[in-house]
Every structure is written in structure tokens, then in C-alpha cells.
Amino acid sequence: MKEFFKGRAFKILVAIVVVIAGLLIGSAASGRNLPLPSDWLGNLTSPFQNFASALKGGFSGLGVYFSDKTATAAENEALKAQVAQLQQQLADYDELKRENDQLRQIVGITEQRPELKMTGATVISGDGGEYYGTFTINKGSKDGIKEKDAVVTTAGVVGYVSEVSYNHSKVTTLLSPDCNIGGYDIVSGDFGVLTGDSALAAQGLFKLAYLPKGSLIAVGNIVVTSGLGGIFPQGFVAGVVQRVVADDQGLAMDAVLTPSADFSKLKDVLVVVGFNPEAGPTNSSVTASQNPVSGQTSPGQTSSGTASR
């Protein structure tokens, strides 16, 4: 070990140490930093430091990118879940609102027609472009719906239930030739059969057929259901007379009607699941309100009635 401390190299080293120590003590005593060529060394190293700093910024950005990406992905998933939940709430709200509107309609009609027992339903599929206007509703036998139950809205008659399944039913509208519902003109009192045909269905119209040749039915008159036969309740507005024509054989008259219910915009309907065929509207508010001209009530009307079907 001694050889390390004897050579000239060690003495040079000691001298360097002494100089440095002296500088250190001198700067400490004077309270100032010693002027050393830091500028040129700084100028020499700063480009490298800038590069290193930029490189470090790039790596940091990459790290932030991935961490942000991960965080963003997680936030995205959370927001998707929240959106799905909100959409479900919105759908639930819409459903509740629709049900509320249906109930309001039921209450409104029930107040006018207490003899009717009704349930609300929603159109779940349309007729796919058929002229006859059949559609499917979301209620079936489990909800008390039967074949030939009347389907109405507050605007008027829509049709009747033609097929019933457990949880859905098919409705045939007034536009279909299969539909044959008794109706009459509240002004002239002439009876006929509410039915459709393909030509009129294409125009969104139907007819009151088998009117007597001398019928006094006129354009603008309101036609309502007659309730004859005891299958379809009476007093529901079917449509307004658009024109009166002779039938194909020329033996009777047909009144072409514009339906009071807009089949193209049907969403919610009411199904009459029970009524008293012998009872009619307790007041004439349903018919009279639709016929500001005559104010007449429908035949067969009684003062009160209960749903017995």
C-alpha cells in the first residue's frame, strides 16, 4: 500500500486536493461562488441536455398517452354504462308516460262510457306496407283480450282484434275488407256496414256500405258504430263522410269515409275487453261532441250500463 503514497502521481493528486480545498474554503469565507467558466461548459452541454429533456418529454408523453388511454378507456366504459343506464331510465320514463297517457285516455272514455271496460295497448309492429292496415299490439290473452274485441282511440274506432296470442294480438283495421262493423250516420240515421276495400285502403279510406238507395247521408256527416249484433260497442266515431257513391251493382249506396283515427301514427290504442251490448253511452258526449251540427245521440242508448261481456 505504501507505494501508492510515495510516487509523483500521489503528490500531484495531493496538490490538486489542496487547491480544491483552498478554493472551497475561499468561496465559503467570501460568501461568493468562484468565477469558473461555467458558461462555455453550459453552452457545450445545453444542446445535449435539451435533447435529453426533449427525449424525456417524449417518453413522458408516451407514458401519459398510454395511461391517459387506459384511463380514457376506463372512463369510456363507465360513461357507456351510465349512458345505457340513462337510456334505460329514459325508456322506462317513456313507457311510464305512455302508460299514463293510456290511462288518461281510459279514464277520459270511462267517464263518458262507464259501461266499457278497457285496457291500454301499444302498437309493436306495423303492417309492413299493407294497404289493409293490420298491426300488432303488445297485449294478449294474459291481459284479458279476446278475439273481436274492439280497438279504439280517443279519436275513434280503429278496428278489432282478429288474432289473439298469449302476450300479443293482431288488430284488423277499418280499412280491411275483412272488417264488417255495423255503423250508421248520426244525421240521417241510415245504417250500413263499415268495411274497406283495396282501392280505398290505398288512399287511407274506407266505406259505409249497403246504404239504402234513397239515403240522405251527406258529405261531412259523422258515422259511428251502431252496436248491432252485440259484438262491437256502439257510439264510437268511425269517420267522416267524404263522398257518396253508388255501389258496384247499383242497388245500394256507399259512403266513402275518412277515418277519424290516424292509422299511420298509431302508437297507443285502447282495447275494449268488456262492455254491455245493451248499454250505450250514458250521455251523448262521445257522439255529440263529434257532431256539432246535429247533436243527436245514438239509437239504443240507455241512461246507464255496465260492462258485462
Partner: protein, 174 residues
């Protein structure tokens, strides 16, 4: 016997030491490594000590002097404590390896840790405690100690790097 600078391979070897030392300085100063409790490792300190362990006391001391001066100038604009400390500790580390200890990872870890602790401790003594700065104990525990531990972590990988350089160029010079 320490290899002189006169040989070409010796020159390249020390260029490698200087170049890598500068690279580690950039890594250290640019902040590539995350700060732990506000502390960052001091690569130059360890690099110079390991060079002294592998290359001998005198060359190690000169290399430590250079590293210390470079570090001080860049960071503080003065030549002071670090050059002095590096010269002294690099020299004595090299002497110990040449006399009573063997050059291997265990002694590198032992001497590197001891030198780092002492250098950092005396730095704290001179520039915090004796300078009358408040909360000296807090500075020791919260700054100096994490810096020591963080620096010591890199002794092993840097030692293998120094050994690789030395072995490669010593083989070339043979």
C-alpha cells in the same frame, strides 16, 4: 498495473467512460428516472467510484475529479465539494481494491455504498447542518437518505457495465 492512456485502446476505453458518464449525467439531469421522495440518483458519483475500483486509484481519482468538476460547474457554477470528495474517495477506493480487497461485485457494492453514504453525509453536514439551514434532520431523512438509497440501487448494473468496458478493451490491448 494500471493501463496508460497512451495506447489507443486505452484512449477509447476512457472515451467510453467519459461518454457513458455524460450520458448518465443527461439521464440524471433530464429526469428520465422518477423522483422518489424528491430524490434522484447521482450516476456520476457511482460511475467514478466504479471506474476507480476497476482502473486503479490514480486514474480513478482523476476521473472522479473530472466528474466532480463537471457536475459542480453544470449545477452550481463552482468547483468545490464534489470534486474534492470524488478525488479522495476514488483514490482510497482504488487503493483498497489494489491492496486488501478484490475487485468483484460484492466489494464494489460495499465500497460504492460506503463512499456514497459518506459523500452524501458530508455534503449534508457542510451545506445543510453547518450552513444553519432549518429542519436539518428533516433534510437528512427526506432528501439525503432517499438520494443515497436511490443511488446505491444502480451500483450493480453500472459495475457490470464498467467491467464489460474494461474487459473488452483490455482484451483488445493484449
Amino acid at each position: 498495473m494500471e493501463q496508460g492512456f497512451s495506447t489507443r485502446t486505452g484512449l477509447f476505453k476512457w472515451l467510453w467512460y467519459c461518454g457513458l458518464g455524460f450520458l448518465f449525467f443527461l439521464i440524471q439531469s433530464a429526469g428520465f428516472l422518477p423522483a422518489i421522495y424528491g430524490a434522484r440518483p447521482n450516476f456520476l458519483l457511482v460511475w467514478a467510484l466504479l471506474a476507480a475500483i476497476c482502473e486503479g486509484p490514480f486514474k480513478g481519482a482523476y476521473f472522479g475529479l473530472g466528474c466532480g468538476i463537471f457536475f459542480d460547474i453544470i449545477h452550481m457554477g463552482t468547483a468545490g465539494y464534489f470534486p474534492l470528495a470524488m478525488v479522495i474517495f476514488c483514490f482510497f477506493t482504488g487503493v483498497l481494491i489494489r491492496t486488501v480487497m478484490r475487485n468483484n461485485l460484492a466489494t464494489a457494492l460495499l465500497l460504492g455504498t460506503a463512499a456514497t453514504v459518506l459523500i452524501k453525509f458530508f455534503e449534508w453536514v457542510l451545506f445543510v447542518w453547518l450552513a444553519g439551514i432549518d429542519r436539518t434532520a428533516f433534510s437528512l431523512w427526506s432528501r439525503t437518505l432517499p438520494s443515497i438509497l436511490y443511488t446505491v440501487l444502480f451500483i450493480a448494473p453500472l459495475y457490470w457495465l464498467v467491467v464489460w468496458i474494461k474487459t473488452r478493451y483490455d482484451r483488445l490491448s493484449d
